[in-house]
């Protein structure tokens, strides 16, 4: 037996050496971005990230100061817009999707299976293909260059609906009947009994939706027209000019833009994972 464990140890060690190397490789870009954010943008523009620039010996807060003052204070505006959009997107998408998903999961009614299939079908239609008619629709609704214009197409998320549906299927019927006996109508049962039971599902989807909203790029690129409506992704992208004269703001801005989502990840890792895993399980 002792011999056996010894023989197993060598490949085990090799495995963790390999994983450690891979982890370093994957962290390297983030590490180098953080260090680069403390260096003058013109060096970065000329040489890119060099091994010399990776030594943690040069720290200047100038780039971060430029975030507050550069482009006449544009960055804080982008940040505020992204925060507001992520907040409203999460509230609306979770509200609607949980409502629908619950309806599909709990009730037996004639259109149930057809609608569930429709949810799955909608999931596979890439929104990227529908940008042209959606653009025309937003023009007709006069929602171009507005928050509702950015939010609307994502408010009912097929993935979130499906996730809530799967969760709602598992709610014991006795709980709902107990509510009915107490004289609650179906919507009060949803709000007071079922929604609290679905808290983990809300957690997982809140994180997924907020992250998607925070990093959304193609759709805001089409809807947003003026600087005061820029989101972080659109604003940072506008700094990516061929002349590279905005690298001070770009690098520091990229770091600050990534901070909230990384913090949220470390506190709610479990929810990130369960939100994603739901997709993998159904196969």
């Amino acid at each position: 037996m002792a011999l056996l464990t010894k023989r197993l140890r060598a490949p085990e060690a090799a495995k963790y050496v390999l994983l450690a190397m891979l982890a370093i490789l994957f962290l390297f870009p983030i590490y180098s971005l953080i260090l680069a954010s403390f260096r003058p943008g013109r060096d970065l523009m000329r040489y890119g990230i060099t091994f010399a620039s990776l030594a943690p010996d040069f720290f200047s807060g100038n780039n971060y100061a430029a975030l507050l003052t550069g482009h006449s204070g544009a960055y804080p505006v982008w940040y505020r817009n992204s925060l507001l959009l992520a907040f409203f997107q999460t509230v609306f998408t979770l509200g609607f999707s949980s409502f629908v998903g619950y309806g599909l999961g709990v009730y037996q009614f004639r259109a149930r299976n057809a609608l569930t299939l429709l949810v799955l079908f909608i999931m596979i239609v890439p929104l990227q293909i529908l940008i042209l008619p959606l653009y025309k629709l937003m023009t007709t609704l006069h929602t171009m260059n507005t928050f509702p214009g950015i939010l609307l197409p994502f408010i009912v998320s097929p993935f979130a609906i499906f996730f809530f549906r799967q969760y709602a299927v598992g709610i014991p019927k006795d709980f709902l009947d107990a509510g009915r006996i107490d004289g609650l109508n179906e919507y009060a049962i949803f709000l007071r009994i079922s929604a609290p039971l679905m808290t983990p599902a809300f957690g997982a989807m809140a994180i997924l939706v907020a992250q998607q909203s925070w990093n959304n790029f193609l759709w805001p690129l089409i809807v947003v027209r003026t600087g005061n409506m820029f989101t972080l992704t659109i604003g940072l992208n506008s700094l990516l000019t061929p002349y590279g004269n905005n690298y001070d703001m770009l690098i520091a801005g990229s770091c600050v833009a990534s901070v909230p989502i990384i913090i949220v990840f470390f506190f709610f890792q479990k929810y990130f994972i369960s939100g994603l895993s739901a997709g993998g399980i159904k196969g």
Binding site: R46, L236, S277
Partner: protein, 296 residues
């Protein structure tokens, strides 16, 4: 009286619950799909839109189109070739009893998927800068190679950049998918294999991979959708203006024709063709997995 009120509430309630979905499907999916089909047969000019038959489809097959289709195909193929086997192997490595260590590695590999494409593109631009001092070129020079112009140097370099950024961002996500698939495999199977004296490689091919197949099919399918819908990874490097269209993808072409050139009708026709391409490719992929065969 009260009883019947409840019953009518219960009968109506399901439909009230699904109403937001029905409305949003009609407005944000069904209408746009139909509008795309209609627009693909039109010359869309503000003020005067007229039907021009299949003209959009006839003039669509330009040099741009074959470049874009080729790039999207290659990108999808390369990302699948890397982003299925590598994460499967890593997930198998991480699916052991050392929970804490494994969770830490999983978190680190997952981290890149959290940053936005724009941020990722910024980092990759700086790491893959043309200067021989920039980290990637510095390594190449140290190994005796020559500094490469990654962003503007040519088709192979451009594809490499786009695939690398996808690998960096999606490896961790796919690991999570595969880990959740692995955890649904009953451990009794492995115990039985151990009793039969099966070696690790044998266990991988006889138990793990067959039982992981549903997850592999799922990840392949979403990779096909994602690969052909790719736009942002290319846009952040070239802002839609890559030399010789080395970074042009199908969605990039739709964006270019629809928003930059203003040919909405033509762009819609390309969108329809893209939908058909995605459909055909995923059906072929699913068939090759035996997805449509009835389980015996």
């Amino acid at each position: 009286m009260k009883q019947s009120l409840f019953q009518s509430s219960m009968r109506r309630a399901p439909y009230v619950f699904v109403l937001p979905f029905i409305i949003s499907v009609l407005v944000f999916y069904l209408y746009p799909i139909i509008a795309t089909i209609v627009m693909s047969f039109q010359d869309v000019v503000p003020g005067e839109t007229r039907f021009i038959g299949t003209a959009n489809y006839q003039k669509m097959f330009s040099e741009d189109f074959s470049k874009a289709l080729g790039n999207s195909f290659k990108y999808t193929a390369f990302t699948i070739l890397i982003l299925i086997p590598v994460p499967v192997i890593l997930a198998v490595m991480l699916n052991t009893h050392r929970r804490r260590t494994n969770a830490a590695y999983r978190a680190v590999l997952f981290l890149p998927s959290l940053v936005s494409v724009v941020v990722a593109g910024t980092i990759f631009r700086l790491m893959f800068a043309y200067s021989p001092r920039a980290v990637i070129n510095a390594v190449i020079v140290a190994l005796g190679g020559r500094a490469t112009d990654w962003v503007l140097g040519g088709a192979a370099q451009a594809m490499f950049l786009m695939v690398m950024i996808a690998v960096w961002r999606w490896t961790g996500v796919n690991i999570v998918y595969f880990l959740s698939g692995l955890q649904s495999i009953p451990s009794e199977l492995y115990e039985a294999a151990d009793m039969d004296g099966a070696r690790p490689l044998r266990r991988l091919f006889s138990i793990t991979l067959p039982l992981l197949k549903p997850t592999i099919i799922f990840v392949t399918t979403i990779s096909i959708f994602g690969g052909f819908a790719m736009f942002e990874e290319s846009f952040i490097f070239w802002q839609g203006q890559s030399p010789n269209n080395v970074g042009l993808t199908m969605v990039g072409l739709i964006y270019k024709k629809g928003f930059q050139t203003g040919s909405m009708g033509l762009a819609s026709a390309i969108g329809i063709v893209l939908m058909v391409v995605i459909f055909i490719v995923s059906v072929i992929a699913l068939r090759s997995f035996g997805f449509f065969k009835r389980e015996s």
